[in-house]
Symmetry: C2
Subunit: 320 residues, 2 copies
């Protein structure tokens, strides 16, 4: 939540000469996106987002991310469209960093999503999965089980600083996940980070999906499980079954889940909660207090883990 | 440079019902303004800035700040216009804080101002002084000499941590300023913080002045001196006489300086440099490293102080 790199008007105007973006009228650094520097531009052609990719993004992944947005927008998904440069590229260079100009989507992210919002995000996630199924590039999920083990190896010794007993508790999650993680489920391009701040609404109508910088190839149902974690828990960490049911039935109205996907849901949800707990825990333990990166409480995901451990049937998420 | 307070779409929509601002389409926290939380809004009526006033702003001063912008805009100064609520007020409440909706000004602030920009800012400053002369409210300058003494009393003992010898060096500035500060110069509403990031341009044309939250009543020539400090020094702390001449002649083309103001300029410039050195020094010594507030190097103003101490004639600033 910060602007890491400032840009002068001169270098920005030079950069924009390669784009059909009209005349620059204003640009403001915006406090969104935890990995990159983002600016909201007004030009004579409209509004755009300018993203400068900072160190945490591997530039080798940019053709996948930008190409995916371009592919999805072409299929009718409401997502930002990277503007093509006059040389046909989607990515340029600004202030020494890879940079992309993307279309601006109107809409607000919901600080307090309703049941109706959960249904809409379920439908949009399924539409995204279908639209991405013929995208030509692929990208392995850097935050799949192997990645979780690496994060845990780097954090386990200090996990009890966050809560006493946490290291043993999470060891048990790893044992269950390593033993039972599904091997054969429908796979394809997933968003992998479809939290409320990445989904815009105008009223109850979903107006856009943003931030594809964790997108990768993995189980579709794992993406659904991440949305259950992100959208269906209340601030007190209780699971709202009505929201779960709405999200899942919205999803299945577009792409029905197989029996195998349904059976796997409790473990997938547990794995997804573990993944977000681990990145938060790692940041919590390693990022100095003075850094610009916002640190978030890993215990919010320990609470979700405890819920998922106790689930005995997919119906407890609202799956029929 | 941060958003201190987040706002939900529901409370924002409720807040906007009191304004003729149309339908909310999007809002983004922007990384500008060091004291308050600012959002850039798009509505069906256009673009607006929403400012939430945080603790560092005294709410008793808001009628002065907002009324001044309203007054200046009415006189044709390009500055943000606080939008009137349906009850006629310029200030409402949002997320428990005083909040104002103000018009959005297109334009970019110049990271590297040119001579032409300095001339324009001089003209705009003089126009602001003339336009503010019949504003009905007044506000004492909290950062006048008495305020400097308070900051110095709180920082002097640790000043040598920043540079050895600094406390003695600055004591001498205080002695000179206390003995010789002018008592009778033309007075009125001044901006008091007209740095490059508070002035927007479209090309070489000045498109707006923003951030009136240090505005107060003081010597007009002191405001000019602050602009010399803010606009006419290069990154290596050399004074660019061509820029000084452009800024001063731009100013005088709208409001000629009196002989008394010209003679006082070296001491006013020294006092202004001292003022910015002191707030930076105080923040440097007191704000913890982890805070969101950006800390800036006080030595940049020690360098300016040294320049002003050596000035023997107003002509060294480009005054004729």
């Amino acid at each position: 939540m910060a602007v890491y790199t400032d840009v002068s008007e001169g270098e920005l105007e030079t950069f924009l000469r390669d784009y059909p973006a009209g005349k620059l009228l204003s640009y403001k650094g915006i406090a969104e996106g935890s990995e990159n520097s983002n600016f909201l531009l007004h030009t004579s052609e409209g509004s755009f987002i300018l993203t400068l990719y900072e160190k945490r993004v591997d530039t080798a992944d940019l053709p996948f991310f930008l190409g995916l947005m371009h592919h999805l927008a072409g299929k009718g998904i409401s997502c930002p469209l990277p503007v093509e440069r006059s040389d046909g590229e989607l990515c340029g260079t600004l202030a020494g960093r890879p940079a992309a100009l993307i279309t601006f989507l109107e809409g607000m992210w919901m600080r307090r999503p309703s049941v109706a919002h959960c249904r809409e995000v379920g439908k949009a996630l399924a539409a995204l999965h279908l639209a991405g199924s013929d995208f030509s590039l692929s990208r392995p999920n850097a935050l799949a089980i192997d990645g979780w083990h690496k994060l845990w190896a780097a954090s386990r010794d200090r996990a009890d600083e966050v809560e006493k007993g946490l290291s043993e508790e999470v060891d048990a999650d790893f044992a269950a996940i390593d033993a039972n993680w599904p091997k054969e489920l429908p796979c394809g391009v997933i968003h992998a980070d479809l939290f409320p701040d990445n989904v815009f609404f105008l009223g109850d109508k979903l107006s856009g999906l943003i931030d594809f910088y964790f997108a990768c190839n993995d189980f579709y149902a794992y993406d659904v499980a991440t949305c259950l974690n992100a959208w269906c828990f209340e601030k007190d960490f209780s699971f709202n079954l009505t929201k779960g049911r709405a999200l899942l039935s919205g999803y299945q109205s577009v792409r029905p889940l197989s029996d195998g996907e349904k059976v796997a849901m409790p473990l997938l949800a547990r794995g997804s909660a573990l993944r977000f707990m681990l990145t938060r825990l790692y940041d919590w333990l390693t990022i100095p207090d003075g850094a610009l990166v916002q640190k978030r409480d890993p215990l919010e995901y320990v609470r979700r883990l405890r819920f998922h451990r106790a689930v005995t049937s997919p119906s407890e998420y609202g799956l029929e």
